[in-house]
């Protein structure tokens, strides 16, 4: 999806370029005293400038996009929760902010998978996992990601990220995965 966006930007720059060329052409026919060599030179200069501008714009867009992607990569795709809680901590919000910034530049749908640790009953955990996924979905929607693009599903305690019992494993399992 992000390639499309970059392509889109390149495309719009190209349209601008065609328009400019068109205008230049019109100018040329109306300028009586100019020699054909002059016309060619000016034409080439205009072409060069437009190409340079397009390339710079594309590079800038790509750089901005890469910065957003890098921010998401370093933030990671998983946010964590306290036992029996669905509260978003400051750290969690920072991770989500990176995803939101990127999501705003794309049309890609987001799937949020809520999980819990193994403690407690399975169906209650199924509901708790959904509550966590929805807390993340609400935060994304409040911050500008259209809610129809965000899907939530809860796996409860059925798919632990880390097996075994104890806080080391449990803290890794109380999570929402952003996909």
């Amino acid at each position: 999806m992000k390639q499309f966006t970059v392509a889109g930007k390149v495309l719009s720059v190209m349209f601008a370029l065609i328009w400019m060329v068109g205008c230049a052409g019109t100018d040329v026919t109306e300028t009586d005293g100019a020699t054909s060599a002059d016309q060619e030179r000016r034409q080439m200069e205009a072409d060069e400038a437009a190409k340079r501008q397009a390339a710079e714009a594309a590079a800038a867009a790509k750089k901005a996009q890469m910065a957003l992607e890098a921010a998401v990569d370093s933030a990671g795709n998983i946010v964590y929760f306290d036992f029996d809680k669905s509260t978003l901590t400051a750290a969690t919000r920072r991770v989500l902010d990176a995803h939101i910034a990127l999501a705003k530049t794309t049309k890609k749908n987001v799937r949020l998978e809520g999980h819990t640790d193994e403690r407690g009953t399975r169906e209650y955990n199924m509901a708790l996992g959904e509550r966590r996924a929805k807390a993340v979905a609400d935060y994304m929607s409040v911050n500008g990601v259209a809610s129809y693009r965000v899907e939530t599903v809860s796996y409860g305690e059925e798919r632990p990220a880390m097996s075994g019992s104890g806080e080391a494993a449990w803290s890794k399992n109380r999570r929402v995965e952003i996909k």
Binding site: R122, Y124, A127
Partner: protein, 428 residues
């Protein structure tokens, strides 16, 4: 209502690899001594099952009986005329069970129970069925002996559902929905998936089951007929589709749905497929279980901050909190007596199975293992099965409702969880 997806599939059950192995961990102080003598076999070849050992194991698992070791039997009678009561009196045996198996296209198990001190026959019986059901015939004999000696109907000739998971790190885990005899014998795979399977539940006729499967990458409730193998996707709502529970008359299924925003309890009429919303609260409401009269439901809700058990009257919606003991109570269900409620209770950092007498509000913690969940009571109310951890593996364990008897049913491999004990079943 038109959005249900119907999925009809013929699912054939196939035999499984991992058998449950029973290990008794705690018994009663003074169990009744009973000798179950090897049954005589008449039929082609060797006897397909050791019927006497199946019966002896049933009685031993109840915790109320201590079967005599075969090495300690001075004689091995199979008919009344061969019984010498002094052989049993000298070894302090109280009851003697003898019998015969007649094999063929169908099997017949005949048995006679004697009181050694009174030197008289207490009961006798005969059960016939298909060759593959010989173990079930043995369980029926156990039921009759148990009822005669304890006054309580036996529940050995029943089945259990459970989920078996082969956890893999390199490849997707495999989730299997299993059906087995109440002693873990004759395991069959009913359904297998690489996506989670959970919450199996029995219809009161013992012929249909409901469960949750994630095979479509979202949870949905499925119905499966155990006799025909026909499988049907019952729900496909946005959000949660979980915790199915059949009404006592079998016509309705209570479930948890979050299609209207939050997890709430709904009841679906299984004939019309009409849905009725029972709870309406922004908190989590889930794990519905029916009261015996079918007029109200028990359910788990964290509307008070932490999960506790509530009861809702279906007609009026009037809701009452039932648990005040312990900071965390969930997944209640009711024994057949209509007043013994079993549930999962958190105490300190542990999760245990607890029972609460609804008439006297007395609460007792039954288990001392950790991470105990999914309690399910035998139809006679004597024992309950639950899931727990043993070492690092998920196993099934059982405890008597008074807490006196305990045994484990670990699987030979993988994790087992989510047991559901069947109602009484008709003749095989």
């Amino acid at each position: 209502m038109k959005r249900y997806i119907y999925l009809l599939l013929l699912v054939l059950a196939w035999p499984a690899q991992a058998e449950l192995v029973i290990e008794i961990t705690e018994g009663r102080d003074n169990p009744t001594s009973i000798a179950v003598v090897p049954f005589a076999w008449s039929g082609w070849g060797a006897a397909p099952e050791d019927v006497a050992s199946v019966i002896a194991a049933d009685l031993m698992r109840s915790g109320q009986f201590a079967p005599v070791a075969r090495a300690d039997m001075l004689s091995l009678p199979t008919r009344e005329q061969d019984v010498f009561f002094r052989d049993w009196r000298v070894t302090n045996v109280e009851y003697l069970l003898i019998g015969r198996v007649v094999g063929g296209a169908s099997m017949t198990v005949e048995f006679e129970l004697f009181d050694v001190y009174k030197q008289e026959r207490v009961t006798q019986g005969s059960f016939s069925g298909a060759a593959g059901d010989l173990r079930m015939l043995a369980h029926r004999a156990s039921d009759q002996v148990y009822e005669k000696l304890t006054g309580i109907r036996g529940a050995f000739a029943t089945k259990i559902l459970y989920v078996s998971v082969a956890v893999r790190t390199q490849a997707p885990s495999t989730y299997q929905l299993m059906l087995a005899d109440s002693d873990g014998g004759r395991e069959q795979v009913l359904f297998e998936s690489n996506e989670p399977v959970l919450s199996p539940a029995w219809a009161p006729d013992g012929k249909t089951i409901a469960y949750v499967s994630f095979e479509t990458s979202r949870p949905a409730i499925y119905l499966q007929n155990l006799e025909t193998g026909v499988r049907e996707q019952l729900t496909n709502f946005r959000g949660l589709n979980g915790a199915p529970s059949f009404s006592p008359d079998g016509n309705s299924l209570a479930m948890t749905l979050s299609k209207d925003g939050n997890p709430d309890i709904y009841i679906m009429d299984l004939n019309s497929r009409q849905l009725r919303r029972v709870t309406r609260h922004y908190a989590i409401d889930t794990e519905a279980a029916w009261m015996a009269d079918g007029r109200s439901l028990l359910f788990t809700s964290d509307r008070g901050g932490r999960p506790q058990i509530y009861q809702v009257d279906i007609a009026s919606g009037k809701t009452e909190r039932l648990t005040y003991n312990g900071p965390w109570n969930a997944r209640a269900s009711l024994a057949a007596d209509g007043r013994t409620m079993v549930m999962v209770q958190q105490t300190e950092a542990q999760f245990h199975i607890a029972v609460q007498d609804l008439l006297q509000d007395r609460v007792q913690i039954l288990t001392s293992t950790t991470l105990d969940e999914s309690p399910t009571v035998a139809p006679n109310g004597s024992m309950l099965l639950y899931a727990t951890k043993y070492g690092d593996r998920g196993i099934l364990a059982a405890v008597s409702v008074d807490g006196g008897v305990k045994f484990r049913l670990p699987s030979r491999e993988g994790d087992v969880r989510e047991p559901a004990w069947s109602p009484y079943l008709g003749n095989p």
